[in-house]
Structures are given as structure tokens and as C-alpha cells.
Symmetry: C2
Subunit: 167 residues, 2 copies
DNA sequence: TTAAACTTTCAATAATTATTGAAAATAAAA
DNA sequence: TTTTATTTTCAATAATTATTGAAAGTTTAA
């Protein structure tokens, strides 16, 4: 397989994985493109490579910057902005984990807690609280694990876990 | 807060969490409804509770059954089908993990591996392979952890992990 | 200053995804 | 059988989400 072909296929694959996890396809593709690029890319470069509009590039690049996984970079002698993705995949993983945790898991935990405030004493209410409690317990545990992941270094995933898994 | 209000709010919350993780909102709501229901529900019950069409109920209930997190149940003297959700949240977590791993993570791992077959020797190709390799490494590790979770009992999440986290 | 280069915004539009509802299929009862 | 209850399917439609592109905004250089 040729390099260019492989790159394209990788960008496509990443885009469709993103879709099934609720991430905008183009955003994932822009990130994938920057990840396999050897040099910083301008908005124009991205427009051309992915055949998308200027507005679309702008929106998605900004979102990636907001997620903390893409940075602006200035190129000497060039007036326009260029963009690069951090090539450290472990950092990428941590950053995405951190953001999704903050944006999606934590707010749900807060709601689950709030809902425990049902002031009824029926069996049904008890059962409901039980379900909520179980849900909170599992969600909190997951949340804690992700916290640990965010703070840990790369070896945490590769070795520390392996130990636990072999038990 | 009253029980009914809390149940509704819970169903809504679960629906919106689902949306941001690429799961159909109605599917999550149907599941949430069954989870907090004290008795098996018929298609009609679900239609009424969530104000959705018969077809929609059918589609989503089947999807939930396909995911292994909802079961059919027969009620004596009733001709129609009823549905229940397993109330064991840990089982739910394991089942969802198992399915998403199988449907989404594993296929991507296969593509990443395939893409390593780039037959070029340039620096650029080397860098690309490096990125792919790193991506595979992290994805494989996550995949392994999820495997462990699927096989483990409830205490794995709650205690075994706590230990690791306190290190 | 002003003009040119570039970025951002956002209403209009397109693409995608979810939902309806009625007809067809299936299963149980008469 | 035939009738009736129930489930399934799927084309049409609605709702949601993503994308365009041109105008407005901003920055830099002359």
C-alpha cells in the first residue's frame, strides 16, 4: 500500500469511529490529517485536503483547539495561521478523556445526586433510589479511573494495568 | 421532589447523555424507563409514557434486546409481549462495554494494523507508522482493560481499582 | 491612514439520522 | 379454516446536525 492511500484510509476510518462516539466526523478528520502531517497546515491546506469549505475548517479547527488537542503555529515569513496536532497519542488520550469527563460525565453525576432527593417513602421510591445509587456508584468509579488516567503517565496504561489484569 | 418528577428527569438526563455518546436518544430513554419501572411494560405502555409511535418503540426495544440489556417477558393471561431491563447496573455496564468494544473498537484496531502495511521507506512513512503504532498501542491497552472489566465481577471496579488508584 | 490578507460569523441549505403511521406479516384464538 | 390481536417493516416525513459561502470583522503592511 502507498503512503498517501494509507493516510486517506486512516483519515476516513478515524472519521467514522468518531461518528459512532458522537463526535463530528469532520472534526475527527481534520485532527487525523494534522496528526499524520509532517508540517503545520494552513486553513487552505485543510480545505484542499478534505475538500471542505473555509467556514467548516475554521469551526472545526477552533473546536479542536478548544479541546486542547490542536495548536496554532506561526511560520516565519507567512502571515496566515498554521495548525499542528500534538503527536503524543497518550497526551491526546488524556486530553480527550479529561474533556469528555468534564463535559459529559460530571454533569450527569450531579443530576443523579440531585435526584436522590425524592421525598417519598414508598417501595417504588426506594427501588428508584436503589437504581440511582447503583448508577452513581458505577459512574463515580469510572470517573475516578478516568481521573487517575488523566494524572498518570503513559506507563500507567501499559504496565500498571497489566498487573491488575493478570491477577 | 416527587417520585414521578424525578423519574421523568432521570429519563431525560439519560437521553441526553446518550446523545453525546452517539447513542439514539429514544433508545436510552426506553431503557431508562424500563430500568425504573417496577413491572414489565408493553409496547403500549412505552408509547404512552414517552409519547412515541409504535414503530419507534418496536425499533428501539429490538435494538436494546440486540444489545442484551433488555429482555422479553410474558405476563400470564396476556397475549402481548412485555419488556424488562436488568436492574443490575454492573451487568448493564459490562454488556454495553462488551458490545461497543466488539462493534467499534475492534474493527478500528484491525484497520490500524492493516495500515501498517505501507511499503515505503521515506521518513514520512516512518513517521506515519509511528503514529499508527502509538495509536494501536493505546487502543489495544484500552481494549484489554475493557476485556478485563467484562470478565470481572462488580468488585473489580469498586475495590480492585480503588487500590490501584491510591498507589 | 488605506488596502490587502486573512479569519470569523451565521443565515441559508444540505446531509444525516430519527420517527411516524399505515400496510404487510405473523401468531393466537375462535 | 377465518378472525382478531399483535408485531414488524419501511417509504414518507420530520427533526437534528453539519456545511457552505458570502458578508462582516480583524490584523498587518505599505
Amino acid at each position: 500500500m502507498q503512503l498517501e492511500e494509507a493516510k486517506l484510509k486512516y483519515i476516513q476510518t478515524w472519521g467514522s469511529l468518531a461518528t459512532s462516539w458522537g463526535v463530528n466526523k469532520t472534526m475527527a478528520q481534520v485532527h487525523a490529517l494534522l496528526l499524520v502531517s509532517t508540517k503545520p497546515l494552513s486553513a487552505e491546506d485543510i480545505m484542499e485536503a478534505l475538500q471542505i469549505s473555509r467556514g467548516n475548517v475554521n469551526m472545526n479547527v477552533r473546536a479542536l483547539i478548544d479541546w486542547g488537542i490542536v495548536q496554532k503555529e506561526f511560520v516565519v515569513g507567512e502571515r496566515k495561521e498554521f495548525f499542528v496536532a500534538d503527536k503524543d497519542i497518550w497526551e491526546l488520550f488524556k486530553q480527550i478523556t479529561k474533556e469528555r469527563k468534564k463535559r459529559e460525565i460530571e454533569p450527569v453525576l450531579r443530576v443523579l445526586e440531585e435526584l436522590q432527593q425524592v421525598d417519598e417513602n414508598s417501595d417504588e421510591a426506594a427501588q428508584f433510589k436503589q437504581v440511582l445509587g447503583d448508577l452513581s456508584k458505577v459512574t463515580t468509579s469510572v470517573n475516578n479511573i478516568l481521573d487517575k488516567a488523566i494524572k498518570a503517565d503513559e506507563h500507567w496504561l501499559l504496565s500498571n494495568f497489566t498487573k491488575v489484569m493478570k491477577k
